[in-house]
Symmetry: C2
Subunit: 317 residues, 2 copies
């Protein structure tokens, strides 16, 4: 039956979202110094896109209350994109005030999710971004857009392709062409990622796509494999696999950045990231948050570690 | 760049190896009653191939010392294959003595691994199986063969395709045509699984292939996805993701049976297994071994559980 044809890109881009999506559900509120230390380690490892926090209301997400201070005090390395999540114009103004030039807006693709949480439809929410787009244009700030619940929703289950397309079209009308398809509840499966993903690539070739995966049900690494086949070459990840679904205590979080990098390197796909440094960042993360994350490579080690360990053992015999 | 073409079979066969590979490194030695309870749950869930234990030396693997008793006392359900691992003729005779009709022989594809552990080359080991083949033919016992370290070896790193082919040819000369490519160290990556797997399918169309994956470095579910593309339709798994690499304490074990089933069902691929019952088996396993395994679905729940939970929450508002 082998008429499948798997293809692999030469290079993949990794975005580190640990400082935002990874930390936002952590109980321990980090010191700014700890965040800066993590951010520095991320950038030192070679990652070029980092989501440093969000400008949501501090009462809603206390962990993000110091995002301004992080932005003010961080070293800014040339060639690195420092991005923040903003929910609205107020957030965008705060980002601009601390000199940030890249923000991410987000809307849930799910009607019920939007209406339940924000008392607005997805279309109303996205049209509410018009003042943001105008402000950003005036101040030379770049915007990317996220489509959350794109792969499934706790309220609605699966989301139709038509519904995703509708939201993509709205973003495009606002001139936002970098779009992330987000699976915060970990409901995506590899077949869906391939089928919907390749459809989106074909229908919207002008879009720079990002795939944002959580490993809640253990499917994330399979979704990366299917995502590569669909044509995705940019993936979010969080150090040590932090994060998680707010509805499911104890479940896995974001896909672990270092697990993705390890697998891609094993497959001969370049990421531009130093895996050892990425693993050191993940270890630092676990020390700072004071618990283990969900990293397979931190627990199991790299493939080459096993070979090396065995070789040493033989030499010592 | 989308000229990939992913294909999906309608149906996949799951072999439960938890009673052998899952348990063999567990500290707590299970009672026969506990094993029988697990075996019964596995069969009740709809799994048709179960590896119930091994006939290795009891001192080498104390957990397997009661495999004869398990075989003697188990309910034998029509249509279910009860398989044991045997290392040699003595093991095969023990299997026959308790009325088993299916055994698995195993050889490491790695020269260094074989020589270090058994003081024989893989070819010498496999030729040592000739008395087993003759005995099995006489007593109407079916044999399958495993190629361990096929995807990587702690001693040698990657194994060449030529080396794998050599061992496959030896098995075929013995008339053994059901072959499992085993990754007990979790070193396989999806690109390798696809490339070597589809090569093997093409070169040896007469073989019934099985893929045996461990999740040591978090790559196993990606390897299932790539394995499906290569044409594999039979996969081993262990309840609750038990097992693990003896060299790496704390690392993940076999890929969790229930995680594979959950993902395949989400993808519209039939397994013939009742997922709820498979999850119940995994929970029972964790209770019996007295620790958590490495199951994503037990922790995160099924996709549909999330939707249902949310709907109930809304109704109660």
């Amino acid at each position: 039956m082998t008429n499948a044809n798997m293809i692999w890109p030469d290079r993949v881009t990794i975005c580190e979202v640990g400082l935002r999506d990874g930390l936002q559900n952590e109980k321990k509120i980090l010191h700014v110094e700890e965040k800066l230390q993590l951010l520095d380690a991320v950038v030192q490892s070679g990652i070029k896109i980092v989501e440093i926090g969000s400008f949501v209301h501090p009462k809603a997400v206390p962990q993000m209350a110091d995002t301004e201070e992080v932005a003010r005090r961080m070293k800014r390395v040339d060639g690195v994109e420092y991005r923040v999540l903003v929910p609205n114009l107020k957030g965008l103004e705060r980002a601009h005030a601390v000199g940030l030039t890249k923000v991410k807006l987000t809307v849930s693709v799910s009607e019920s999710h939007c209406i339940n949480n924000f008392n607005q439809t997805p279309l109303e929410m996205i049209r509410g971004f018009i003042p943001c787009v105008e402000y950003a244009a005036k101040h030379n700030i770049k915007i990317s857009g996220a489509l959350s619940s794109a792969w499934g929703c706790a309220f609605e289950g699966k989301i139709s392709v038509q519904q995703i397309e509708k939201i993509v079209n709205e973003y495009l009308q606002l001139g936002i062409t970098e779009l992330s398809l987000s699976d915060a509840t970990g409901m995506a499966n590899p077949r869906q990622i391939y089928e919907i993903g390749s459809h989106m690539m074909e229908k919207f070739p002008q879009v720079k796509w990002v795939l944002h995966l959580h490993n809640t049900r253990g499917m994330a690494i399979g979704n990366i494999v299917a995502g590569l086949q669909a044509g995705f070459t940019t993936f979010d990840g969080a150090f040590a696999g932090l994060g998680g679904c707010p509805y499911i205590p104890g479940a896995s979080g974001n896909i672990a950045t270092e697990d993705v990098i390890h697998m891609l390197h094993e497959m001969g796909i370049d990421t531009g990231v130093d895996l050892e440094k990425a693993m050191a960042t993940a270890r630092m993360t676990e020390a700072i948050v004071e618990h283990q994350g969900q990293s397979a490579v931190l627990r199991g080690g790299r493939c080459e570690d096993l070979t090396r360990k065995k070789a040493q053992h033989q030499n010592n015999k």
